[in-house]
Symmetry: C2
Subunit: 364 residues, 2 copies
């Protein structure tokens, strides 16, 4: 993998990635001329025991672009620079202009609850230069490259000593609030292990202490043996609807062998994981013959310097639909109590997804 | 408070409540003739350490009612019975026909994850016979009656020995998935303390052990002293935007004195709490001169037989809008990481709500 780090006129960083050498002389454009002034702060929520981040300048983060202007497309008209240059590269990562977390945040307000500077980082990851593509429509080799990019970002973000957790995710579709449909995801680097991964890690740790094995690897083995909910399986990777799905079309994707983070993936595992991921994505889009919205989260070990044999790198997909034309709303019991109520069995949605025929390219 | 418990033709229970005696001879109708067959089950989510409930028969819970048919209105046409009789009563509570939890659930499936019958209860609480009203438009005396009804339901549900937690809530508005706009809420009675209240209780317990006082009472005292985020305050009750709000127009409502649950409220506290609640609701609807959607959750002590001096009865409102025409979507960082990202400061939304003038009826 080749990469090239550039600085935008407003001070933000842009990194270009490719399986091929990146041509010299590319410059990093920005839709914004003035330097960035992001100063988010954290407030402690004493009743939930968690941090909340405040970035008031985000409220008016839209601006008036020309019609058809796509800030994630390569710049074609220098009078209207986008976030990316034209040129030969495959994946691009740049600092979010309106971040919820910022490395140089400072001077949080004094309040009756504890506060802190929101010293993290928010990055945008552009999967392709093609605005009409989607993650699932990209070649498996591109998806494998993306897994390498996530590893590289995790390594770089770990370099800022205080970053405790790196979460790559993709919000896809207007149904989950996305307004920019160019294929892209995000990376949040947190100065603490956030509540959801913290809870998962605690569960994994307890299981590891009791069984001397990874909870998720054992779950994956049981799923592979049972088969009822499996969407993809090869020697190195698996995708399945978990038996405890909280969303009707939830799916998990993971390597079969123990693997703490993106950095620990070998080439064969990456290729298999890319095919597993692409399989889920193609089945999603094939289910109702239209782009299928979802949240995709990639969980890995914290970047706290410790070894985490208890945890397993994996993706969780949380799609918002419960039927073709009905969204699943999170309401009183889900958000207020934390107990998810499902109207459909995981075995049923797994069967539906199993029936979707896809044309997966041949393995290289 | 007067109440009358009736049984519907399909076996479900209906209880009518009123400040006045309820006339004899009212019969409980049902839109459904056949007996209810609800058999939800729980599956353990080993990675999150929480139960998920499955009620597959809920997926097709809509049926084809006649136009304008409102199942929560009093029955006017015996050929099309609703859930409620016509007659003199104020508030009605009945068993949800499509429950996520059921007292007689049995024989859960055997799976690779632990399973259990979903032995809880789901109730519907109709606030008024007037389909055009809203909780906030009802007289404060009706809201005070509702607080008594919630106390009565909690006491009755506690009677089923295994119920550990009773959560009254209201989902309001199409924006949070509500299709039935007759003013109503729900009550979920859980056979365990669900994750969100469990987390809150743990935080309250730790604070109580350290400070010998209630976390929420101390927060309320600090808010009252500061004043910047207060929406209502009298001798007995307070409403404010919490300094750690996770939703732009979040508000909390609570009694000022320590009070574990609805059953512990005295008449003066109930009256004050009703006025505090009505104030928030009227300010919400007044903010943009239109019905304001929200989730309203009422947290109280578990029904586990133990004393809970650490916990404080209170309501949390989670509204889905971040601006007049923009919803706040919960996406990668909120649902995937559990860190909420706010685009607006609690002080700003509190100020906006403080400026909304309302006509609160005089205290009796």
């Amino acid at each position: 993998m080749h990469s090239e780090e550039l600085i935008k006129p407003d001070g933000r960083t842009l990194t270009l990635y490719s399986t091929q050498p990146i041509p010299a002389g590319l410059a990093a454009p920005s839709p914004f001329a003035e330097p960035q002034h992001a100063n988010p702060h954290l407030r402690w929520h004493p009743l939930r025991g968690e941090w909340v981040t405040y970035a008031a300048y985000r409220q008016n983060r839209t601006y008036q672009p020309p019609p058809q202007y796509n800030p994630l497309a390569p710049t074609r008209d220098p009078a209207h620079p986008t976030e990316l240059p034209a040129g030969d590269y495959e994946v691009a990562v740049f600092d979010n202009r309106f971040p919820s977390l910022a490395l140089d945040a400072h001077d949080p307000p004094a309040l009756d609850v504890p506060t802190a500077p929101a010293n993290g980082k928010c990055e945008v990851v552009v999967f392709t230069q093609d605005a009409q593509a989607s993650l699932g429509s990209l070649p498996a080799a591109r998806i494998a490259l993306l897994l390498q990019v996530w590893a590289d970002r995790t390594a770089r973000l770990r370099g800022h000593g205080h970053i405790q957790y790196v979460l790559p995710f993709e919000n896809r579709g207007a149904e989950v609030g996305v307004t920019l449909h160019h294929p892209h995801g995000q990376i949040y680097a947190y100065p603490f292990v956030p509540p959801v991964p913290a809870r998962q890690l605690a569960q994994e740790r307890e299981y590891f202490l009791q069984h001397g094995a990874s909870l998720l690897c054992d779950m994956a083995r049981a799923e592979a043996a049972d088969g009822k909910r499996v969407l993809y399986r090869d020697e190195h990777a698996i995708a399945f609807v978990p038996p405890c799905a909280r969303y009707p079309y939830e799916a998990w994707v993971m390597p079969l062998a123990p693997c703490q983070d993106f950095g620990a993936l070998g080439p064969a595992q990456r290729a298999a994981l890319a095919r597993a991921l692409k399989t889920v994505l193609l089945k999603y889009d094939g289910l109702w013959d239209r782009p299928f919205p979802y949240l995709m989260m990639w969980y890995q070990a914290p970047t706290d310097g410790a070894d985490h044999p208890e945890t397993q790198l994996h993706a969780q997909f949380c799609p918002p639909y419960r039927m073709r034309d009905r969204l699943k709303f999170l309401a009183g019991t889900e958000l207020g109590a934390g107990m998810f109520a499902m109207d459909v069995l995981p075995e049923t949605t797994a069967y539906e997804l199993q029936q979707v025929e896809i044309a997966l390219e041949e393995a290289a």
